[in-house]
């Protein structure tokens, strides 16, 4: 009888210890992420919303609580429609041409060729992502600036005998920033899609071949069918990051010439920190970026079904 009781006590102690460990593990694993998300997302969002209802400006003084920033955004800002149109074009073109399609082509191409050369090409495409943004931006400027020493003009001169140097930043500023961002964005899709392609079982390809599928049909029915979720994930993720991207634009074109490359993120920056120094109005504009951001992030959460992108742990941890 005593023994039975003792055993029950021991067992309940063990259970308690396991519970405690479970809790400790949770704190250890989720704690840092939780802190980071609060400090760098939740708190800034709250601060942003709070500021957007004030008249905070360069003097750093709040004199009234007001909705006039929102009134202005909805009715009074004549630049805003143009900015939104430019943003849609910039995000759409970069996303469709580079961040998905080109990334996919890179992944398909570098997995189809022998492994070592494939790895080499992928490494080359990763270089811009690994270099500091200032260096990357300077490389771009150095390549395309209007003087006859730029890479583009040297090539035009020496290879095509063209005497007149061109200035791509003046001629096609939008496409310059699309290319500059796209070259980096493509490598993101490339990495994710490469590993997704690698994980497709080889016998599926064999089966499809024996079932009569040609190369195109195999790519469509096996490879692309398999990449549907990763592609959706990349699409949403990259939309988000393009909406808020501004550092390369700022460094390469500064939003110009005139407003040709002033997309939404640049516009907020200019309104808030430019000569006008309207912090509160900038905060209100930023709020409109937070809303789609949160919606897309939640969508991403659903779409990615996390499990389909992450490997299950090999060991079950309690």
């Amino acid at each position: 009888m005593g023994a039975v009781k003792e055993e029950a006590v021991v067992r309940s102690n063990v259970r308690k210890a396991m519970k405690a460990r479970e809790r400790a593990n949770m704190a250890i694993f989720f704690g840092p992420a939780f802190l980071i998300v609060s400090f760098f997302f939740v708190v800034p969002v709250i601060v942003d919303i709070a500021i957007s209802f004030t008249d905070l400006g360069r003097e750093l003084r709040i004199t009234e609580i007001t909705t006039k920033n929102y009134d202005r955004a909805f009715t009074g800002d004549r630049q805003l429609p143009g900015v939104i149109a430019r943003t849609v074009f910039y995000v759409g073109a970069t996303l469709l041409i580079f961040n998905t399609t080109f990334g996919l082509v890179l992944a398909l191409a570098t997995t189809a060729i022998p492994k070592t050369s494939g790895t080499f090409f992928r490494a080359v495409w990763l270089l811009p992502r690994m270099s500091p943004s200032v260096v990357y931006a300077i490389l771009w400027i150095w390549s395309i600036h209007g003087g006859d020493t730029s890479l583009v003009n040297q090539i035009l001169k020496n290879l095509f005998g063209s005497e007149k140097p061109i200035d791509l930043i003046q001629l096609e500023p939008m496409w310059v920033i699309i290319f500059a961002n796209g070259f980096i964005g493509a490598s993101f899709a490339m990495i994710i899609l490469t590993s997704a392609i690698r994980s497709i079982p080889e016998h599926l390809y064999h089966a499809a071949r024996c079932d009569g599928a040609g190369s195109l049909a195999v790519t469509w029915h096996i490879t692309l069918a398999h990449l549907r979720w990763p592609l959706t994930y990349i699409f949403i993720w990259q939309t988000l990051s393009l909406l808020t991207s501004f550092e390369y634009i700022l460094l390469i074109t500064g939003g110009g010439p005139f407003r040709a490359t002033t997309v939404y993120a640049i516009f907020i920056f200019q309104r808030a920190f430019g000569s006008a120094g309207q912090y509160a109005y900038g905060a209100a504009l930023a709020f409109f970026l937070i809303v789609p951001g949160v919606i897309l992030a939640l969508l991403l959460w659903r779409v990615s079904k996390m499990g389909t992108l992450l490997q299950k742990p090999r060991i079950e941890v309690q």
Binding site: P201, H206, C210, D211, G212, A213, A225, H226, R228
Partner: protein, 358 residues
């Protein structure tokens, strides 16, 4: 329907030769099993038939025409993979219909044939499910339906039963066999399970390290194994083999002397199947060290002057227990003798007990 011929087929992966030289003919409508241990090149052979791998050398003929250069998709071959390889994002119906998409089959006919194929393997109710929602046995049937839906000239089965439980395996064995007999499609089954091969196939091709050891009916392989390897691979429980030296009609096996006929001379292997051994009052002494009940029979392992020997006895007449000392004899007509160096069967050689007094 098709006849198949391997003419001096050689297959290398890089520098490694997997199949040195294969010659084999398969008749129209025949059911052939490729039987051999893991890694002996069975799947490689099958994949060459499917057009997934190209032979390094030699000629592969379908109906007498060379197909080495014909792509997989133009060979009209249906294949069931060991893992089934169902397309995970397609429903069962789409999976089965997949081969027909590339044959410009009209929609209505696709539907009809998918239904037909699904009924054939009894997955008619599962057409709207996805592969992940199916059990192993159901997946296997769907894979079979997908292989059959295009009326293939050749059906290839790569260990189709190895992922199923014992009961289901038994049922599917019978079913596939019946189906093949009805459809009369030339079929090649790859398996490492001798029972699967012997119960399903008309002819068995026994392979070892990329070479064909023997081609024959299940009966041939069991009764007249061409090599020691075949004798040891086919038959369950496995055959007893003893090494010895034959001279002047007598062979020395460990501590025992037996008469040997058929002109065997020099070093030999003698093979005696457990089911052809029996306990007797006289003969070779044996001490029982282990017994394994196997249902209808009991397998004894005995310590004898020849070494450890497996003896099978009907459970109903079980006479021995562990530790008991007895004697055993053997059925001379079923004894097998192999030449030691080549390991080939010496056709008419037999061993028998030496008559006392001679």
């Amino acid at each position: 329907m098709a006849t198949i011929e391997f003419r001096g087929i050689n297959k290398k992966f890089g520098d490694e030769t997997i199949i040195p030289e294969m010659n084999l003919k398969i008749d129209d409508g025949e059911f052939v099993a490729l039987l051999g241990p893991s890694g002996c090149g069975k799947s490689t052979t099958l994949f060459m038939l499917a057009g997934i791998y190209l032979p390094t050398d030699g000629e592969l003929l379908f109906d007498g025409a060379r197909v080495n250069e014909v792509e997989a998709r133009d060979r009209n071959v249906g294949i069931v993979f060991q893992s089934y390889a169902l397309y995970p994002h397609m429903t069962v119906a789409k999976n089965i219909a997949f081969p027909l998409r590339f044959k410009k089959t009209p929609e209505a006919e696709i539907n009809r044939r998918v239904k037909e194929a699904a009924e054939l393997v009894r997955v008619g109710e599962l057409l709207e499910r996805r592969p992940e929602q199916l059990s192993g046995g159901q997946q296997q049937r769907v894979a079979l339906a997908r292989a059959l839906v295009k009326d293939p000239a050749l059906l290839l089965l790569d260990e189709p039963l190895s992922n199923l439980d014992a009961t289901l395996r038994l049922a599917m064995r019978t079913e596939i066999k019946a189906l093949q007999e009805r459809l009369k499609v030339t079929t090649v089954l790859v398996t490492h399970d001798q029972i699967e091969a012997t119960t399903m196939a008309d002819r068995i091709v026994c392979m070892h390290a990329g070479k064909i050891e023997q081609i024959g009916t299940p009966d041939d392989l069991y009764k007249r194994p061409a090599t020691r390897f075949v004798a040891e691979f086919v038959g369950s429980p496995p055959i007893n083999t003893f090494q010895g030296a034959a001279a002047d009609g007598v062979v020395e096996l460990g501590g025992a002397r037996l008469a040997i006929s058929g002109g065997a001379n020099g070093p030999v292997y003698v093979g005696l199947r457990p089911e052809h051994l029996f306990f007797a009052d006289g003969g070779i002494p044996a001490k029982i060290v282990q017994h394994e009940p196997m249902g209808r029979e009991i397998l004894y392992v005995c310590d004898t002057p020849l070494g450890m020997v497996r003896i099978l006895e009907a459970a109903a007449t079980a006479s021995q227990s562990i530790g008991s000392e007895t004697h055993f004899g053997f059925d001379s007509a079923h004894s097998l003798v192999f030449e030691s160096a080549s390991e080939n069967l010496i056709g008419n050689a037999r061993v028998s007990a030496i008559e006392s007094g001679s």
